[in-house]
């Protein structure tokens, strides 16, 4: 079965969605990601949707579910690279992505996550 790769970068997980997803694939991604968060105790999830030209209420709900479940496991979710036309459309559709942060690109998303999370090592650095 097709799978969307989930990459691990330290405390963060990164998923790049490259094509408009069939529903089953999107649902698989939701459960795979939630399992990965729990298994790796990740503190942040980055979902790169820059290649997505359409986000309807179904896809929006999946992103919301990922964020909600991750939050329960103490991880924050950032959606990166949302196309402007998609953002405008989501507002008019009336879909708010509650509990989801957004950033322009993966790099900005990473630093946003870093600022949201106090990682143990960095805390030590700050004390010195």
């Amino acid at each position: 079965m097709d799978k969307i790769p989930i990459l691990r970068f330290g405390h963060f997980l990164l998923v790049t969605i490259q094509v408009d997803l069939y529903d089953r694939l999107a649902l698989n991604l939701e459960s795979d990601l939630i399992q990965m968060v729990s298994k790796t105790q990740a503190r942040g999830v980055l979902i790169d949707i820059s290649a997505l030209s359409i986000v309807d209420s179904f896809m929006g709900r999946i992103i919301g579910n990922i964020a909600g479940m991750s939050k329960i496991m103490d991880a924050q979710t950032v959606v990166v690279g949302m196309q402007p036309a998609v953002a405008i459309t989501l507002i008019e559709l009336g879909l708010e992505l509650k509990g989801v942060y957004t950033a322009l690109n993966v790099e900005k998303g990473m630093s946003l996550l870093q600022s949201k999370i106090s990682l143990p090592d960095e805390d030590l650095d700050n004390i010195e």
Partner: protein, 137 residues
């Protein structure tokens, strides 16, 4: 007066049809030179309505038409199914109303995203939703 320049009917009966159908609508929007924002609004509205067909009626068809008012061109989509119908259409059009334990955004959201929206439904007979988006609408 509205003139139909081109039409095509697409059957909808399985989940995979959603993405295929969206791609087909996209080809038409490109053919008439619709901008990206309007394209995205129309295709998102269409995606919601085609999902409703699958979820509530199981199957149906969509008619895709390129239309012209003389002054400008647009795309008209007619979603028809022979499903259970909707007993209270004004209620179904309200944000947040859902019999499917969902967000209840599909119908009211789709209406906001297009220039013209029409819904006709008869309980036990089926539902027809027509939407229209002008190229520069």
């Amino acid at each position: 007066m509205i003139v139909v320049l081109n039409k095509e009917s697409i059957p909808i009966d399985k989940e995979q049809d959603v993405v295929l159908f969206r791609n087909r609508v996209k080809e038409y929007t490109i053919k008439i030179g619709m901008g990206v924002v309007n394209q995205t609004k129309l295709i998102t509205a269409a995606s919601e309505l085609v999902r409703n067909i699958l979820k509530y009626a199981g199957k149906g068809t969509v008619l895709i038409e390129i239309i012209s008012s003389g002054r400008q061109n647009g795309i008209r989509l007619v979603f028809s199914d022979k499903g259970p119908g909707i007993s209270d259409v004004p209620l179904a059009m309200k944000d947040g109303f859902s019999t499917g334990k969902s967000l209840g955004l599909g119908l009211p959201g789709a209406r906001r995203l297009v220039n013209e929206f029409d819904i006709k439904s008869t309980v036990g007979k089926g539902t027809t939703v027509t939407i229209l988006k002008w190229k520069n609408g």
